[in-house]
Amino acid sequence: MKEVGYKFDVIVVGAGPAGSAAAYTLAKKGFKVLLVERGRMPGTKNVFGGRVYADPLRDVFDGFDDSAPIHRWVTKERISMVSGEAMTSFEFHTRKKTSFTTYLTELSCWMAKRVEEAGGTVLTEITVDELVVENGRVTGIRVGDEKVSSEVVIDAEGINRLLLERAGLVPKLELRHAGLGVKEVIKLSKKEIEDLFGLEEGEGLAWLMMGEVTGGLPGGAFLYTNRDSVSLGLVVMLGEAVKGVREHISRYVEALRLHPLLERYFRNGRIMEYSAHLVPEYTWPSLPHRLYADGLLVAGDAAGLLLNLGYNFRGVDYAAYSGYLAAKAVEKAHEMGGMTSENLSVYERLLEESFIMKQLRKFRNASKMRENGRLYSTYPEVLNSVMDQLFHSPYEVPKIMEAFKRARKGRIGWLDLIRDLLGMVRSI
């Protein structure tokens, strides 16, 4: 292994939201930063659902509102319970601009450009083979037969975290801790999107669906409106999918696209891209593994930092903010005299004090709730049966409670119902 002729204060692995946020924050503070990315451009290996919350990114990146690639501000939220050929939806419409849609590919590129502007060095097409560990301390990265050295490495390599595994720092990700997201990006015109979803220019829709949209696999489906396309896809819990999958997973996405109540939206579109990615699904509050070591910090998906509430996902902003906190930890460790494990442990404290860990702790039981199979079949059926009785009884309309009793019968017992309700109230 040959040492290259350049040395850095910090090497960040992966130019996704976490890596770029960390590199940007440190470059701005005058650290000599190297950000390496295996894709041909930053973002070419990144996939997300479709929505990002803006404020955590504003905290990290100066001038966010001036130039970030925002497609549409999500002003409309729709949550639907689907069974058979019926769905009951809940919709919230406002004019507030809190989260937006975009392509993560674009957003990652934008972030990496900020890193360069801040004085960081960004290298693409570089796949790190290994974290170099010497005397129990991470001293740099190995790429092919070359080594690049640094005081500290921030690992933001993403959910597959091969480098951490190879360094013996974490075990292989367990099935129950991962979800599989598969999506189609479907091209539509701006006007078509605005007409189809009742939006004005710059307004967007985030639509989460539960029930018979994942073919009985625990998980959910999503639709986000981009500038001139929609992202349509599903996330299934991998541990359950392994047991329950009955046909090729692309068929589940196609069934979603061709669902009798959804097909109308995509009729005039064409698929622009098909993508897939794993999603962290940890059961908190236990951290999946330590996020710091001598000369090392871990951020973003590699650290498993994503909040999945079932009705909302927070991944990109959590990743970026964790990268930002990792950078803060490096700054503090630098002030304390070096990148020792002890000094870097401040990272966990920063995470604990931030919204990230507070939220993950608060919603620690959310993933357990999502394992409950009734959420995907029974409840959508009951709800849609009630609505059906209320609106499609030509002569005698039942009272709501009456309709509910009928809908419930044979589907779910009172005890389970109460237990699930309490569980839901407690967890989300």
């Binding site: 290996k45 392509y103 993508s275």
Partner: protein, 94 residues
């Protein structure tokens, strides 16, 4: 737009790769022969794993680099690496 389900090959036609001349994933076929579950056949989103006769045929070219196969393989038959030199899938709208 197609009103019936598209084959995954046709869906994948919309993606862009710069395919490497060496695979970034290697599969131990002897382990596949012993495997009853073969979850890779249905869960690899790019259908890189197909059944030909009784053999699992693996091709890396259309890989989306999600890492699912590595996690779900019950026999640890998948040696999975990140592609090098900027090769592999090139997402543009995801």
């Amino acid at each position: 737009m197609m009103r019936k389900p598209m084959r995954v090959d046709d869906i994948l036609n919309n993606d862009v790769w710069d395919v490497d001349y060496e695979p970034h994933i290697r599969v131990d076929a002897t382990k596949c022969r012993e495997c009853d579950e073969k979850p890779c056949l249905l869960l690899c989103p790019a259908q890189c794993y197909t059944l030909v006769g009784n053999e699992v045929l693996f091709s890396y070219e259309g890989c989306l680099e999600c890492g699912t196969c590595r996690l779900i393989c019950p026999h640890d038959a998948v040696h999975w690496d990140y592609p090098v030199s900027g090769r592999g899938i090139h997402f543009r709208f995801s």
